[in-house]
């Protein structure tokens, strides 16, 4: 049934709202990883989008070379990319600790270009198909809209992962170590905690989240070498709006901006590509530390 609302069919409205929520889920997962990495390593990880893409490619390789399907990819891709992150941190980023933010930003930006370049060289720019797993094919008619099962799964699963990460950081002992080490790593280390190891694992975990988002995205957006490059600028805007390094800020802002973007597509489609940056400019003017940031 279609009930016009402000002359807009509800089917279209809810359809865009769902798309917005899905994009929001990806924004939240990616910006969450960025926030964790920035909070702990003080590094603006420009390689995040490239590692999100690598996550999707790992899923593709696991399926086509190893015969391992979606559910295995969901488990293995974050671990494989996380291990790659551990190697990147140990061999490169660790050497930059104590230097200006700019060095980490340049290094990770360079890494992103190299990783994307290599994949583009072998796979071109067009997308490789990745099938929705059998269990999540089809959809449900909710009366006011049609909900594809896979999209519902992406939203619910992302929410679970986001809140599990929030819980681990804000409510557990390990999370207390992480928060304390963000403030004063030297003192936390002097309490007997191996902070350098914790930093390495945090980077691995953060990029593992990006890979997880990549696997989730593969059946919706296909697997493409530039899939991360297109996304990452918006994700950085999300991080800035939420407040650099804020965990809850990343989650709430990620979903919120996805939805706002979706609604803009319904009400004023021309602005849908820029609305996030307009919001970023306004937030920076009014609250430079971001909506959930502690200090400017």
């Amino acid at each position: 049934m279609m009930i016009p609302l402000l002359n807009i069919p509800t089917q279209a409205l809810f359809g865009q709202l769902l798309l917005g929520l899905i994009n929001g889920a990806f924004y939240a997962l990616l910006s969450l990883g960025l926030a964790v990495i920035f909070g702990m390593l003080n590094i603006v990880n420009f390689a995040h989008g490239a590692l999100y893409m690598v996550g999707a490619f790992v899923a593709y390789f696991l399926l086509n070379l190893g015969g391992l399907g979606y559910w295995w990819a969901l488990l293995l891709a974050p671990i494989i990319v996380g291990l790659a992150g551990v190697i990147i941190e140990r061999t490169m980023l660790q050497r930059l600790s104590g230097l200006d933010h700019l060095y980490g930003l340049l290094l990770t930006f360079g890494l992103a270009l190299i990783i994307q370049g290599v994949f583009q060289n072998y796979f071109g720019s067009s997308g490789l198909p990745y099938e929705i797993p059998d269990l999540l094919k089809g959809g449900k008619n909710l009366g006011f809209m049609y909900l594809p099962n896979y999209r519902g799964w992406v939203v619910v699963f992302s929410l679970i992962v986001c809140f599990a990460t929030w819980f681990a950081i804000e409510k557990t002992r390990l999370g207390a170590y992480l928060r304390a080490a963000t403030e004063n790593p030297t003192l936390v280390r002097a309490f007997g905690i191996n902070v350098p190891l914790m930093i390495t694992l945090t980077y691995g975990f953060g990029v593992g989240l990006a890979a997880l988002a990549g696997v989730l995205s593969a059946p919706i957006n296909q697997v493409r070498p530039l899939m991360g490059a297109e996304f990452i600028i918006v994700v950085f805007a999300v991080v800035v709006i939420g407040g650099m390094g804020s965990i809850m800020g990343s989650i709430v802002t990620g979903f919120m901006l996805g939805v706002i973007e979706g609604l803009t597509k319904v009400f004023y489609p021309e602005a849908s590509n820029t609305v996030v940056f307009v919001i970023m400019a306004i937030v920076l003017l009014i609250k430079p530390a971001g909506l959930f940031g502690r200090t400017a």
Binding site: A180, L187, R189, G192
Partner: protein, 238 residues
């Protein structure tokens, strides 16, 4: 009665330390025996805090020898040194703003058996028990100091290094901290104290070392304090 013949718990010889290019410690030698309270005295900038940080492995570059319970720690990272049973309560207290009081208190992991149970820490510092869910940095200066001392008592560390624990505190809180240090000493803890306030130090210390320009220039026992008062005034410029 102190056993002055036993091997020291902490032996420091020829300790040099740098912050970047700045050479701060120029060959520090002293020792602390099991169960003693030893105080480092000296003017601002003499190298007292750097000495504690060097023992803990928190400065950029160190040379010389720091032996704890016979283990040479000069090349160890600070987390390994802490695991041997050395704990620092820093001058700036180091309370974490993003953690509540309970999380701050429980943060340092247990490194050895024999740490104080939390109930006993609350007996020493009853204020902390009432403020457990407050944000760490919302506490008063005195309460923050109690939290900074309390959290290292849990860990089982046998050498406690307290850097100016009375700085900026009200007399009644200073008394409470003095009482705590005497109680800890009675329980067998070894304490290395940095103090500017030697009147406070005289109520708890067994021995003193005086530092100037990154070196130890004098030492005496608490019983010799009165006899050394004039010299001490000169050293400390008070």
């Amino acid at each position: 009665m102190l056993d002055t013949t036993s091997r020291p718990l902490l032996e420091i010889a020829g300790l040099e330390a740098w912050y970047g290019e700045s050479h701060i410690l120029h060959g520090v030698d002293f020792n602390v025996r099991q169960g003693e309270v030893v105080t480092l005295l000296g003017r601002n900038g003499a190298g007292k805090t750097t000495t504690l940080k060097s023992i803990m492995g928190m400065v950029g570059k160190r040379k010389g020898s720091v032996r704890f319970e016979g283990h040479e720690t000069i090349a160890m990272a600070s987390d390994k040194i802490a695991r041997l049973g050395v704990a620092l309560c820093p001058e700036e207290r180091g309370i974490f703003a993003s953690l509540d009081v309970k999380e701050n208190l429980m943060l340092p992991p247990q490194v050895k058996p024999g740490g104080l149970p939390v109930e006993q820490i609350f007996e020493l510092f009853p204020n902390l028990k009432e403020r457990l869910s407050s944000q760490g940095t919302k506490l008063s200066g005195g309460e923050q100091q109690m939290l900074a001392i309390g959290r290292i008592l849990r860990t089982g560390a046998t050498l406690l290094m307290l850097d100016e624990p009375t700085e900026g505190l009200a007399p009644v809180i200073i008394q409470q901290i003095g009482h705590t240090i005497r109680k800890l000493k009675a329980q067998g803890f070894t304490i290395l104290l940095v103090e500017q306030n030697f009147r406070f130090a005289s109520t708890v210390a067994d021995r003193y070392y005086v530092m100037e320009h990154g070196q130890i220039i004098d030492s005496f026992a608490n019983s010799e304090l009165e006899a050394n008062m004039d010299k001490l005034h000169e050293y400390l410029g008070v």
